[in-house]
Amino acid sequence: MNTQFKKGVLNLCVLTLLKKKDAYGYDLAEKMAQSIEIAEGTLYPLLRKLKLDGLCETYLSERSAGPPRKYYKLTQKGIDAQRVLRDEWKTFSTNVNELMEENDDE
C-alpha cells in the first residue's frame, strides 16, 4: 500500500481506535498493522507523541496473572482532535472518490 497514504491517516486511525475503548500498545499495534500494514514498532513513538501533545494519557492496569499492562486513554483534547481529523478525512475521501468516479472510465 502507498506509504504516503498511510502516513496521512496514522493519527486518525489510532485516535479512532482509542476513542472506542482504552487499549494497550500491543493491541493497537496489531489492529493498525492489520488494517494499514505498518511496522508495529512505529506505533509506540506515535503513542508517545500523542501523550506529549496531551491527546492521550496512560495508566497501568493490574492483571491477575502476569505484569500490569500500560493502557492508553484519550483525553478530551484527543476526542476533539479525532473529531476534527475524522471530518476532514470524510470530506477528503468523498471528494477523491467523486473525482475518481467521474473521470476514471475503467
Partner: protein
C-alpha cells in the same frame, strides 16, 4: 528479545535515562504480550521493525520536546542537530535563521556590556577628576557615566526581551515543524 532491546537502548543514548527506560519498557511489554499470544521472537522482531530506525524517531522527538520546554541554547542546538540529521524539511532554513538570530543577539549583548563598561570607566574618570580638584570635569564624567551605563543597562534589558522573542520563538517554530514532519512524514513506517 534482549538483543533487540539492547540495540534499541544503545541507539537511544541521546535520550535521558528516564525516557530510555520508559521506551524500552514499552517494547519489552510488546514482546511479552506477543510471546503470551503464541508468537515466536523472530515473528515479533520482524513485525516491530528496525530498532535503530525507531530510535531515530524517539531521539528527534525527545530533543524537540526538551528544547521546547527549556528554550535553552544547548537543548535547542541538540534539536537542530536532530532536525538536520534526519533531513526534516525546512531544517536548514530554521537552523540558519536560528544561528543568525543567535549571533545578532550575542553582538547586541556585547554592545550593551560595552556601554555599561564605558559608563563605569567614565564614572571612574569622574572620581579621579574630583580627587584632583577638577570639579567641572568630574561632573562631566558623572554625566557621561550615568548616560552610558543606564543606556547600556536599558539595552541589556531590551536585549533579553528580544532574545526571548527571536531565539525563543524560533525554537517554537522549529518545534512545530518537527512535530508535524517527524512522526508523520519522515518516519519509515513501512514493514521492512
Amino acid at each position: 528479545m534482549n538483543d533487540y532491546l539492547n540495540k534499541l537502548e544503545k541507539s537511544l543514548r541521546r535520550m535521558s535515562a528516564n525516557e530510555r527506560k520508559e521506551i524500552v519498557a514499552d517494547y519489552r511489554e510488546h514482546f511479552e504480550i506477543g510471546l503470551e499470544a503464541g508468537k515466536s521472537i523472530e515473528q515479533i522482531i520482524a513485525s516491530l521493525g528496525d530498532p535503530s530506525e525507531l530510535a531515530k524517531m524517539y531521539t528527534a522527538l525527545g530533543a524537540t520536546n526538551r528544547a521546547h520546554e527549556s528554550k535553552g541554547v544547548k537543548d535547542t542546538l541538540h534539536m537542530l542537530g536532530a532536525i538536520l540529521r534526519f533531513k526534516v524539511g525546512g531544517g536548514l532554513l530554521i537552523a540558519s535563521l536560528y544561528f543568525a538570530a543567535l549571533s545578532t543577539m550575542l553582538a547586541a549583548f556585547a554592545a550593551a556590556v560595552g556601554l555599561i563598561g564605558g559608563g563605569l570607566a567614565a564614572l571612574g574618570y569622574a572620581v579621579y577628576m574630583f580627587t584632583q580638584g577638577y570639579i567641572a570635569y568630574g561632573f562631566l564624567g558623572i554625566f557621561a557615566g550615568l548616560v552610558l551605563s543606564s543606556g547600556g543597562l536599558l539595552g541589556f534589558i531590551a536585549n533579553i526581551k528580544l532574545w526571548k522573542l527571536s531565539v525563543g520563538n524560533l525554537t517554537g517554530v522549529a518545534h512545530k515543524i518537527m512535530q508535524k514532519r517527524v512522526t508523520n512524514n519522515e518516519l519509515d513506517i513501512d514493514k521492512g
